[in-house]
Symmetry: C2
Subunit: 291 residues, 2 copies
C-alpha cells in the first residue's frame, strides 16, 4: 500500500489482535475497564493515531472492495460489537466505521426480534445480513443477544441456550470458510462508568431520547450479564472467530483499539488492486478516438 | 440548532434549492457543466465550506433521527443521484454522505435489475429501499434508470416508458405525503470531462477496476442520453419532488452543492430533540440509588 508502513501506529507495543484476544482462563474481573492494553500512548496520542488510522482504513477498504470486484478474491470482514448499554458501540460506528466509504460498509443493527424472526431459528435473521465479498460488515448487537439477554431474562429454555453455543460456532466456521474474517468485540465498561454516562443523558435534554428507563432495570442484572458474557467468551472464542475484550471506560482507547483490530486484520488479508481484464492500450486508443 | 446560523455558508449568494432547481423551459445545453451557480467562492473556499458543512449535516442528521425515535415526527430525506458514468456519484457518497453517522444513512445502489426484479413492476425493488422515518436515504442510481437507459437502449416498449413517467410522479407524491423530502440530483458533466476521467482510470493501475469497456460504448450514445434526461426533467420535476441539475465538471462544487441542498432541506424540516416521555427527576433518583 502506497506509503503505508507495516505497523502503522508505533505506539502500539503489541498487536491489538494479540493483546486483546480472549485466551484460556480469561476472567472479566481481571481486566480493568479503564486500562489500555497494548497501547503506550495517552489520550492525545490516541486521538492523533485514530485520525491517522482513518486514512489507512479507508485505503484498505477500497482495496478490499476492488479486489472482490475485479478478481477472484472473496474476502470480507465482519465486526461484531457487543456491550452493555452506553459502553460506546454507537461511537465506534460513528468514529471508526464512519471514516470509511459508506459504499463499502454493510451495517446491521439488531433490535429485539420481530414475531416473524422469532418464528425462525435465531440465526435466520443474522444470515441475511452477512457481508458479501469485498465488504466490511458491522453488527451492532448480533446473534450473541440470543445467549446473553436470552439467558439473563430467560427468553429461551436452558437446553435451547445450550444448543445455541454450538450452533454459533458451526455458523461462524462456515462464514470463515467462505472468506469472512470475523472480529468479535466485547466493549468492557465498568458499572460505575455506565452510571455516569446514563446520568449524563438525564442531565442533557438533547440526550433524553437516548435514555430508556429499562436501562436502570438492566443495571440491576449486571452480575448475571457478566456471567453470561463469560460463558459466551469461553464457549465461542475459537481460532476461526476469536473474541476480543476491549476496555471501554476510556472512549478514546476503545475506538482506537477497534480501529487497530480492523487495520491488523486487513493487513493480514493484504487485498491487492485487481489486474485489468481488458486490453488497456486498446481501450486507451478507443477512448482517445472519442475525445 | 446550537450555534448554527440560519445561512451556514455565507458564500452562497442564493439558496442552492433555488439556484439549481429545474424550472420551466430548462435546457441542459444552456447550463455550463463547469459553472458554479449560486456560489461566490472558488475551490479553496468550497473545500473549507464543505468541511464546515459536515459538522452541520451530522448534527441535523442526529436531530432528524432523534425526532423520529422520541416523538411523532415522521420526516425522512431521500437523495436521488443520477448521472453519466464518472460524473462523481461515488465521490458524493464518500465525501458528503460519508461525513454523517452511518447509523442514520440508508444507502441503496441500484445495478442492472435481476431476473426476479424484472418480473415485477419497475418500482417494486425501489419501494423496498425507501428510507424509514428519521433516516437519510441515498439512491445511487434509481427508478430513473428505467426511463433513461431503458429508453436509450430500448429495454422497454415506448408505451411502457411513457407509462412510467406518470407512475413515478404518483409514487413520489405518495412518498412525500408520508413524510419523505425527495431531492433529485442530476450531476451534469461534459463529455470532454468524462473522457479525461475515463482516461485517468486507464492511466492508473489502481483505477483499472473502475473502468468498464462498455463505458466507451455508452459515450457514443451521449446525445440520446441527454435527450432522455431532458424528458425526465420535464416530465418528473414536480413541486413534491423537484429535480436539481448540479454542474459537475468541478468536483469540489458538485460536492458542496449537494451538501448544501441537504442542509437547506434539513433546515426546512428543522427537526427538534424530542421531549422525554419519562419523569426525568424520578429517573435521576432511581439511577443515583444504583451508583
Amino acid at each position: 500500500m502506497c506509503g503505508m508502513t507495516a505497523k502503522s501506529q508505533a505506539r502500539w507495543t503489541e498487536d491489538a489482535l494479540t493483546a486483546l484476544r480472549v485466551g484460556r482462563g480469561f476472567r472479566l474481573e481481571n481486566l480493568d475497564p479503564a486500562s489500555t492494553p497494548g497501547y503506550g500512548g495517552g489520550k492525545k496520542d490516541g486521538e492523533k493515531d485514530l485520525a491517522a488510522g482513518l486514512d489507512q482504513l479507508a485505503e484498505y477498504q477500497e482495496r478490499l472492495y476492488a479486489a472482490s470486484r475485479g478478481g477472484t478474491a472473496r474476502d470480507s470482514v465482519l465486526l461484531v460489537l457487543q456491550a452493555m448499554d452506553s459502553a460506546g458501540k454507537g461511537g465506534i460506528v460513528r468514529h471508526v466505521v464512519g471514516g470509511v466509504d459508506p459504499q463499502g460498509i454493510q451495517l446491521a443493527a439488531f433490535k429485539a426480534p420481530t414475531e416473524d424472526e422469532l418464528a425462525h431459528d435465531f440465526l435466520w435473521r443474522i444470515e441475511k445480513r452477512v457481508p458479501g465479498p469485498g465488504l466490511i460488515g458491522v453488527f451492532d448487537r448480533s446473534h450473541y443477544e440470543d445467549v446473553l439477554i436470552g439467558r439473563v431474562r430467560g427468553l429461551a429454555e436452558p437446553e435451547e441456550i445450550e444448543r445455541r453455543y454450538g450452533a454459533i460456532v458451526d455458523f461462524e466456521r462456515r462464514l470463515t470458510e467462505s472468506g469472512t474474517r470475523i472480529i468479535k468485540v466485547m466493549l468492557h465498561i465498568s458499572p460505575q462508568e455506565q452510571g455516569k454516562r446514563l446520568l449524563d443523558r438525564l442531565e442533557r435534554p438533547d440526550k433524553h431520547w437516548k435514555y430508556n428507563p429499562g436501562d436502570v432495570d438492566e443495571r440491576s442484572q449486571w452480575p448475571a450479564y457478566m456471567a453470561a458474557y463469560e460463558t459466551v467468551l469461553r464457549r465461542t472464542s475459537t481460532d476461526d472467530a476469536p473474541w476480543f475484550v476491549v476496555p471501554a471506560d476510556r472512549k478514546w482507547y476503545a475506538r482506537l483499539a477497534v480501529q487497530e483490530l480492523l487495520l491488523e486484520t486487513l493487513e493480514q488479508i493484504d487485498p491487492q488492486w485487481p489486474v485489468a481484464s481488458f486490453d488497456v492500450d486498446a481501450e486507451k486508443a478507443r477512448l482517445t478516438a472519442t475525445l
